[in-house]
Subunit: 231 residues, 2 copies
DNA sequence: CATTTCGGATTTTGATCAAGTTTTCTGCCG
DNA sequence: CGGCAGAAAACTTGATCAAAATCCGAAATG
């Protein structure tokens, strides 16, 4: 009887479906990924529990996941913080992303459907709007979404996870970089990328991904050099 | 009051210095890495808490870390298990390890000290003893230790962490493979590796690492093919 | 006399446990 | 075959205990 109501999970109140530790994890992850938590800023479990209006057990579990992912590090004493990148770290990330991005881009191009292409194009359009509007947060989000969608299309879950994890490492620094130089004159190889995908040029797509990555990472590296020079 | 009973740190087991969740994490990690928990076998939080004589809060945290690392996966219902590798997964891991192992091997060779070389040689000797003795567990442990030590020497923490995480993925399968074909006629490029490191031939060391990895991974792939053929 | 350093007390934080609540699976009965 | 009831597991909260860090004052030294 009443077939329509099989599973009324939808309506207003049942936000209880995802467990609290999962919600907290996602919230913290986003805040780290998009640079809302400054690198080096000390965080305590209880402080986060208060700030997020949550018990401290779910916060503990979220912290365990994030430290396991390298998004947070223990700070010797009783605090965690998002790590600050060193020049050596940047080189490591560039080396890894060189292989990951190009391979994932190539595989994604081999598998992309017209529907996926429309989705990617929509993300890129939103990204352009964010640039002209100078909307930093929206730029960062859509830039991430573009790459994450590509990883997903590549149908290589282990490599995709490795690539996503690296975003957690340089994401915070990306925010600082873009925050300084503004959203204007940003490199954007996404148009090349999309063109290659439309024509099935998987080699070209791989090259575009690699170049897009390199430009972004080099900007981070330059900022780091300036900072260390400023002493 | 009752000063006499100040602090009996003595009792048999409680070296309470490392927190319980850390101890449990390491124990589970080792059991997974060396294949003592069969892939696919369902695990529950309470079941583990009973089995390890621990409260369930520390077990929860250990599980969060391990799932974040890909060593465990949610199994839809409320169970976790060690994931079973697919043929596609093997190819992904091979692709990633190809550039990770060679790069780390190269960097390790550039930085190795005589003391490190002695340590590596000792590990390899223990590994040989394990082979002739047919000691499966010891073989797996020393094989892992050899590579982990190399990662450490490479002084590239992010890449090393990526490489170590991959071990958690194929480690369980490695146990199954070696368990079947025995510890005899195992490939061992470690001798080549050590020779290259002694002479400072970093390119050769990188090549040896890559070949050692490839031989091991191909054995896993073959076993997987046989199993799927057996249907 | 000012400054620093050392030791102890206070306070904050983390770790673990036990109980209550909610969700989900399973087996049974219509 | 589908829904209902019981049970088991997970999730969350609050409390308790232990350990670390901070704070403060006194004493010593320049």
């Amino acid at each position: 009887m009443d077939d329509g109501a099989r599973k009324m999970t939808t309506l207003v109140e049942t936000a209880t479906n995802p467990p609290a530790h999962e919600v907290i994890y996602r919230k913290l992850r986003d805040q780290i990924l998009f640079g809302e938590i400054a690198p080096g800023q000390a965080l305590t479990i209880q402080g986060l529990a208060d700030r997020l209006n949550a018990g401290m057990t779910p916060v503990r579990e979220a912290i365990r996941r994030l430290t396991a992912e390298g998004a947070l590090v223990f700070q010797g004493n009783r605090r965690v913080c998002v790590p600050q990148l060193s020049a050596a770290n940047i080189s490591e990330i560039i080396y890894a992303r060189q292989w990951l991005e190009s391979h994932l881009g190539l595989r994604a191009t081999e598998r992309v459907t017209p529907s996926d292409l429309a989705h990617l194009t929509a993300i890129d359009t939103a990204l352009d709007r964010a640039i002209v509007a100078g909307d930093l947060r929206s730029y960062l989000e859509n830039n991430y979404l573009f790459h994450a969608k590509l990883y997903d299309l590549a149908d290589a879950p282990i490599l995709a996870e490795m690539a996503e994890r690296l975003w957690l490492r340089f994401g915070p620094s990306l925010r600082v970089v873009i925050g300084r130089i503004g959203t204007q004159n940003l490199p954007d190889k996404h148009k090349d990328m999309l063109n290659c995908m439309r024509t099935g040029d998987s080699e070209g797509a791989a090259r575009a991904m690699r170049e897009d990555m390199l430009q972004g990472m080099e900007q981070i590296r330059e900022m780091l050099n300036l900072e260390s020079a400023a002493h």
